[in-house]
Subunit: 414 residues, 2 copies
Amino acid sequence: MKSLQQLTRQKALSGLAMPRILPSQSVAARRLWQRNFSATASAAQLAALDASKLTITKTQAPKELTPNKDLVFGKTFTDHMLSIEWTAADGWHTPQIVPYQNLSLDPSTCVFHYAFECFEGMKAYKDKTGGTRLFRPNKNMERLNKSSARIALPTFDGEVLTKLIGEFVKLDDRFIPDARGYSLYLRPTMIGTQKTLGVGPPGSALLFVIASPVGPYYPTGFKAISLEATDYAVRAWPGGVGDKKLGANYAPCILPQLEAASRGFQQNLWLFGEEEYVTEVGTMNLFLAIKNKETGQKELITAPLDGTILEGVTRDSVLSLARERLEPKGWAISERKIRMADVAQAAEEGRLIEVFGAGTAAIVSPVRSISYRGKLVDCGLKADEEAGEIALQMKNWIESIQYGDEAHPWSVVV
Amino acid sequence: MKSLQQLTRQKALSGLAMPRILPSQSVAARRLWQRNFSATASAAQLAALDASKLTITKTQAPKELTPNKDLVFGKTFTDHMLSIEWTAADGWHTPQIVPYQNLSLDPSTCVFHYAFECFEGMKAYKDKTGGTRLFRPNKNMERLNKSSARIALPTFDGEVLTKLIGEFVKLDDRFIPDARGYSLYLRPTMIGTQKTLGVGPPGSALLFVIASPVGPYYPTGFKAISLEATDYAVRAWPGGVGDKKLGANYAPCILPQLEAASRGFQQNLWLFGEEEYVTEVGTMNLFLAIKNKETGQKELITAPLDGTILEGVTRDSVLSLARERLEPKGWAISERKIRMADVAQAAEEGRLIEVFGAGTAAIVSPVRSISYRGKLVDCGLKADEEAGEIALQMKNWIESIQYGDEAHPWSVVV
């Protein structure tokens, strides 16, 4: 029992349903691994991620740039990739920027069998002075570490990886379109690379970052989407891993998404439990602006971080800005559970002001209607409107920070 | 709405919490994919998996056999692998047996990001006449199809894949150790191979089968294990995907497993819900033999297929044999929920006869004790016993069929 107390793992794991995982968990997980599965290495010998060791191998075949109008999300990639190996025996190996290239992996590699994989989505933006900026990279690093630790993959110093990503972005700078709404989508990914079918903590891993130039989500202005509330399948549950950005959370979402699409809905909305709590949309968090029936108080509501929703960086940004800029104007800002039936009732009574999704891809995505129990819940937009007031404001506020028009600590020049 | 009714997808998906998925779902998923994401192909043009097209490229560098005593599960592989590509536009491509080799995949391939991956575990056995046998391969094919369809990967004719696996096994026949308890572990795996970060149904996939010679799980006879009941994390949920053999279900299980190991337990036992129902063990289903308090009736209990446990082939085999051979001797055989507290009470009252896990690796794995709420639940074995009577019988009955000593429709000569 002594080692358990040392590691405080019980405590860390008890918190899995909560969004918080101790930073020490990563070290604990690594030590646990060593104790159980490796007798050779001690934590002291493990190399930390070290940006000063970065090596760069430039491509001999620079790609042609894709014209802005032809950009498709996640389809074309820059000249290079950032690649860092990790082994349980040695820790982090030399960070390398190399030409964008295939991964060559043994078919028994654990990423193919047991979904040892997690990732982040973040963007680099060109500001008006030609500088390149990241948006709240510390949030992505924090979340990637949490995701990684939860599936026994290694953790790392987030500031060091941000620095390395900065070097990568600077090298492939020419791929960042210099136009509002455009950016370079960055995909940090961690995969387990151990070659064995035994189910256990991977003894080796690969952290890589690839980058894809992307255009505005709404090239011709907002276009409100319609959602289908899903009650026949469950995305996440308390004590599960739905709050981590694991590959494991994505493949099972496709069928309900196709199902919704087959009936003309752009995304599905995940409900949870008998109460049918509103949790999140396909690949976004959800915000609802509702007027209180008794008091008339306007409230911006999003689901709480109870383990069943992803801890979105955009969600957090919307909440912060709402508290800073909407609360003084009389809005209540709430992270709380809300039943889909209550949303439907608010709509019927004309109290549903607006609804929007929040995510890295679109920033905000206005919602026109939600299909629920055979009826369409009207989300408050007028017929000729494609976005509500708050969604519009949020997009402007956040973009203004992302593109460096407004000086803000969230925007980090690389 | 017409196409929806045609596809009966709503019905199929409504059944996700239930273990049943319509075979037609696969075709439906493919059509849905085409309708939504591809305008070019119609179902009629899609090629089915065709064993008659098999091509074989033999290795130029045959491997040395690993001595039986040095075999480690899933560490060494045979000379070849079976590999079949699928594309949404064309269906199944030519099946190929090729030398065992690395997979070369673009870093944006969807298997690395969204866990488009599912697999099976099955074994080939040498019988006393030198023939090679598979055990209930139809069950594995059925389950792989269900897993694959659930994550929008393609399905296939199970008999055709069984035939192809038979050809592969025959070619690498020399790797099957000719000794009781030894076998060739087969790992059919399906991965999504589309190169895009867009979250959607993969437009291409790879089905591959690799094979690893394995020794007996208990080389020196049974060794009872001890479990730790896990109440701080949840493996699966009704309406989720815990009943499918998806990679997604495995990575999140490692930390609780390490946690149990750190306290000296070989596996963790997943409880579910406030009632703390017994579901399954790390990588096995669980069986409990309990004497009824009032009637004295002996009952062999395993969790029902309610979506929270894997539909184990060994589980099914144990249930069938129990109904055939134990029921006539006065046993009741039940697929039902049982609370961990009731198991603990039965143990305290001397009514817990024996407990064992059931899975492909060990067939049965006797359990000595379960740590629950700070106490050790004694599972009925005497101090000098490593297996209970039923576990022993089951292992003998099943092995006898697997190795062809007993003629039985479950054993299929390749």
